[in-house]
């Protein structure tokens, strides 16, 4: 009995041990399966631990990608080449600056659509897929738009999306102007002489009167071969200067510097503006580089227009070389300034190292040497220690006889349009001119 019981006990113990072993093996198998499957699943979805490494590992090179407005792009690119040649480093890591030319309005459109791929609010870098990480490798570190108002509009767009600003207006990473320029009249001298003798000073109203002259240049006292008066303004769909020109025209029409949506929707003003824009020969093929077009196609495409001073100065030599009539610069009463703010993206899409490297390039651009170099591109330095005639290469010295002035004559600065005004203007242009 005992033996039987004992044997049964032994059997029970053995069975218990066997169960334990099987349970142990089962657990082992489950663990191996979980590890294997999770590895595969992470690989399939693209997730791995590289996100953490992205933050912890020191990169071989820090790349500062600078989205640069077209008027300052030649200068900034030249500065970047000089900066890269100096082999800059940050925390022992090599820094390289890359310039991406893009018109300010085009860039704003891309920010607005989030084409650059900013992360959603609350997104975790560690959970990014490989594709998302690759996309972030080309995310802009810095944006230099034409004007501060474009930064405000981009911020407004991201505030809706993320609930916070992505470009700061104060603190270490605040937007800082690196050079300035303003819109001036550039008119072929023969045409300007005719207009001045008939109407006096060149203003938007004078241009409007010339634009609506049914008999064209003969009616205005000019050469019949010139055809009709042809205005040059940038295409607002391709160049922030196009909007600036329309805002300046409105300022002069109303005699004030602050223009609202209501002003732009006034039918009388719209009719006036439509007549004015009707004298533009070709919006369709105008590139983002209007002053360059002006030089390339000369008086055949435009007798004159309101363009950025720096663009006109940069292309003055080309105009004189290519065409049989020099260009003259005149300053309007209502002026629009572009201040080219250097704006660092503060979101998690770029690393702290990249942000700090961007600050390094900003300091370089604001250095006295680079501010002096800007003079050769017709840009007005923001560094108050650099005068406009500081170098012999300064275009303000070179083209003095073409009408450029170091001190802007008494004028009223136009205020930047708000978001609604900007959108109203763009829509008006689409419906009334582009179509």
């Amino acid at each position: 009995m005992y033996s039987t019981q004992s044997a049964e006990n032994v059997g029970g113990i053995k069975n218990g041990m066997e169960r334990t072993r099987w349970v142990f093996i089962g657990i082992l198998v489950v663990v191996v399966l979980i590890i294997g499957v999770s590895l595969v699943v992470r690989a399939v979805t693209g997730g791995d631990t590289a996100g953490a490494e992205l933050v912890l590992e020191k990169p071989k090179t820090i790349t500062v990608r600078v989205l640069t407005a077209l008027p300052v792009e030649p200068w900034v690119r030249s500065a970047a080449e000089a900066y890269n040649a100096s082999n800059p480093t940050l925390d022992g890591v090599a820094v390289k600056v890359e310039i991406i030319p893009m018109d300010g309005l085009t860039a704003l459109g891309r920010w607005d659509r989030n084409d650059f791929g900013a992360l959603d609010a609350g997104a975790n870098l560690e959970n990014l897929t490989e594709a998302q990480k690759t996309a972030l490798e080309s995310f802009p570190t810095v944006w230099i738009p034409d004007s501060r108002y474009l930064v405000e509009l981009a911020n407004a767009s991201y505030k809706e999306r993320l609930g916070r600003d992505v470009f700061l207006t104060d603190g270490e990473y605040r937007a800082r102007p690196i050079a300035i320029s303003l819109f001036t009249w550039g008119i072929y001298e023969s045409r300007a002489t005719v207009l001045s003798s008939k109407f006096g000073d060149i203003t938007w109203n004078v241009i409007h009167d010339a634009a609506v002259a049914k008999g064209g240049w003969p009616e205005l006292g000019g050469d019949p071969a010139w055809g009709f008066f042809k205005l040059v303004v940038p295409n607002p769909n391709k160049n922030a200067g196009g909007l600036a020109a329309m805002v300046a025209a409105a300022g002069e029409y109303y005699g004030r510097t602050d223009i609202s949506v209501a002003d732009f929707t006034d039918p009388q003003f719209q009719a006036w503006l439509r007549e004015l824009m009707g004298s533009v020969t070709d919006f369709s093929s105008a590139s983002a580089y209007t002053a360059e077009d002006f030089a390339l196609f000369g008086y055949s495409v435009g007798d004159g227009g309101q363009l950025l001073e720096s663009d006109l100065l940069q292309n003055m030599q080309g105009i004189l070389t290519r065409w049989d009539d020099p260009l003259k610069i005149y300053y309007p009463k209502y002026v629009t300034w572009f201040e080219f703010p250097y704006t660092i993206w503060v979101g998690p899409e770029t690393s702290a190292l990249e942000k700090n490297a961007a600050l390094g390039f900003q300091r370089f651009l604001l250095s006295e040497a680079q501010q002096k170099a800007a003079l050769a591109y017709g840009l007005r330095p923001t560094n108050p220690n650099v005068s406009l005639d500081a170098t012999p290469e300064s275009l303000f010295v070179k083209w003095k006889e073409r009408g450029v002035e170091t001190v802007v004559p008494r004028s009223d600065a136009m205020r930047s349009p708000d978001r609604e005004t900007l959108l109203a203007l763009l829509r008006w242009f689409q419906l009334n001119v582009a179509k």
Binding site: I25, V32, K230, S279, Q430
Partner: protein
């Protein structure tokens, strides 16, 4: 006993564990393999692009408009000879593809066989822009309606204004150089003088589009501000129709016109619309009376030769690689370099580099009387892309009507290499391209005998489907009565006697004449003697066995063109020929 059991159990357990681990490993390997398959299926982020090219490729294909293509190809050859490499050691290689600008726009919208485009004018970029934005914003409208473009910022590497090219004698008759000559002078001359022969390319080219726009402006009594309403007004259409009736023929572009001028001599045309560069190049290469560039007084248009990189990826195609972008940048730097810019100047283009003077020593502008670097004084206002499209579409209803017979070889040899099937496709494409409401097309086949399958008929819906049905039923068998078939088509067209239309025969064969009652000499005599309705004959040699000599003679007699075609391009050739009508 218990120890033995225990040992067995232990062995069993070890075997079990090893087995289970092996199974697990197999499962993991299988899952990995599955992942690879999945990656391939979804176009994963491996070593190659989603489709089309390797992720590191530095090869770039550029679509170039036909007029610029020969010059561009030479420059690209120089670029490739540099054997420049990307930082990762890939060879930067550029290929070119000749594409008519209008087609370039069409192809750029989805999966194009090129990555960059070089049309003759920015007008085409604007059309691409408009169509791309329209296609993209079908779903949702963007708040800032700009920046969404199919291509990056274009670069111009050369320019040339569009001019009216005419022989010096004709120019002087018109009043050159004492007075400015305009579009109206040419239009008036053409309508008043039946012997005045002029031509402009189809609206698929910048110069053709400009000439057509000038007609619409004149017809609407405007010099700027052309609207859709003004362009489609009946009075405008009547005027344009009257002017277009004087155009001798349309065609591919100025490059082909120049070829024909060289082949047929001065009597071929009195004036034609082309880029200024064509005038310079002609005067440089040809002796005899020179061509003069007339800069239209009402204004002209610039062929501004933009080069732009397509931003691929949004239409499901493979996105550009970084190396392709590098190759593009290197090409732009190369094309705008002073040396290349001077080469372009020597070829008759105005260089985009503004440091180069047009009147510098050695420049073709320096001493030339035929061209004037100070011109043009003014340009014609280019309407919005919408109005331009309306003009392009409306032009089909105003252009000179066409009566054309498609004469097709259906002899036994056409059965080889699928030629008959390819011919069916090509003929259908031809019919599809003919869009004029007054165009009429007929179909004649020839083998041992000649068969008028479809007499000439209008291309309305019924006419089109009847013609397409006949094309679909083409069968190959028998001999080759080529000359008789052209004789028959010629008889049909002259019988109709429609002098206001372009009357044409497009004949294709893959073999040798061997079954006609008439001889070539008889046909030639007949064409030369009958001075009534003018019939243009285009001949196509399909494959290597066609009687090229006979076809050439036939085309020459008929004032048309002889072209060769292979199985790979027969459809394209029929499409090209359709642009002549």
């Amino acid at each position: 006993m218990s120890n033995e059991l225990s040992a067995k159990q232990r062995t069993g357990l070890i075997v079990g564990i090893v087995g289970i681990i092996v199974v697990c490993l197999c499962a993991i390997i299988a899952l990995w393999a599955g992942k690879s398959v999945w990656d391939n299926v979804r176009g994963g982020d491996g070593g190659t692009g989603a489709a089309g090219w390797d992720a590191t490729t530095a090869e770039l294909t550029v679509a170039v408009s036909p007029g610029m293509a020969p010059t561009f190809a030479k420059l690209v050859e120089q670029f490739n000879a540099q054997a420049a490499k990307t930082p990762d050691g890939s060879l930067m290689l550029v290929r070119t593809l000749t594409v008519v600008p209008e087609k370039m726009v069409e192809q750029s919208l989805a999966n194009p066989p090129f990555q960059a485009i070089a049309p003759d004018s920015s007008l085409w970029l604007n059309q691409l822009d408009r169509r791309w934005v329209a296609a993209q914003s079908e779903g949702e409208a963007s708040l800032i309606p700009i920046g969404n473009r199919r291509f990056g910022d274009p670069v111009r590497y050369a320019t040339s204004p569009v001019v009216i090219a005419t022989w010096e004698g004709v120019a002087r008759e018109l009043g050159w150089p004492d007075r400015d000559i305009g579009w109206k002078d040419i239009q008036q001359k053409a309508t008043a003088d039946a012997n005045f022969k002029w031509n402009h390319p189809s609206t698929g080219h910048a110069s053709g589009l400009l000439a057509t726009l000038a007609e619409f402006y004149a017809g609407a009594g405007l010099t700027r501000g052309l609207t859709e309403e003004a362009a489609t007004a009946q009075t405008t259409l009547d005027y344009v129709r009257a002017v277009e009736a004087t155009v001798r023929f349309y065609g591919e572009g100025e490059d082909v016109i120049v070829q024909r001028l060289a082949a047929e001599g001065q009597g071929f045309l009195d004036a034609f619309v082309a880029q200024e560069q064509v005038v310079i190049a002609w005067n440089q290469s040809q002796s005899g009376e020179r061509l003069i560039a007339l800069y239209p007084a009402e204004g002209t248009l610039w062929a501004d030769h933009p080069l732009a990189l397509l931003e691929l990826g949004a239409s499901g195609e493979a996105p550009l690689t970084d190396n392709q972008r590098r190759t593009y940048q290197a090409l732009v730097t190369f094309l705008t370099s002073p040396d290349v810019q001077r080469q372009l100047l020597a070829a008759g283009y105005r260089p985009a580099n503004l440091d180069i003077r047009l009147d510098e020593t050695g420049s073709p502008f320096a001493t030339a009387v035929a061209v004037d670097w100070r011109q043009p004084q003014t340009t014609l206002q280019i309407p919005s892309a919408n109005v331009v499209e309306v003009v392009q579409n409306v032009w089909w209803y105003t252009k000179r009507p066409t009566n054309v017979y498609l004469v097709v070889d259906t002899s036994g040899s056409m059965e080889e290499s699928g030629k008959i099937e390819l011919t069916r496709v090509a003929l259908r494409s031809f019919v599809e391209q003919m869009r004029g409401d007054r165009d009429q097309v007929g179909l004649i086949t020839f083998a041992s005998t000649v068969n008028v399958l479809r007499p000439i008929q209008p291309l309305d819906d019924a006419g089109r489907s009847s013609l397409n049905r006949a094309i679909d039923q083409l069968q190959a068998a028998g001999n080759t009565a080529l000359i008789d078939s052209v004789w028959e088509a010629y008889s049909e067209l002259t019988l109709r006697g429609d002098p206001e239309a372009i009357n044409a025969i497009v004949v294709m064969t893959d073999g040798q004449e061997n079954n006609s009652r008439h001889s070539l000499a008889e046909l030639q005599r007949r064409i030369q003697q009958e001075r009534g309705t003018s019939v243009v004959i285009f001949t196509i040699a399909f494959g290597n066995d066609a009687d090229e000599k006979l076809l050439r003679s036939m085309a020459e007699t008929g004032g048309g063109q002889f072209r060769r075609a292979k199985e790979t391009d027969i459809e394209e050739l029929y499409k090209i020929i359709s642009t002549y009508f």
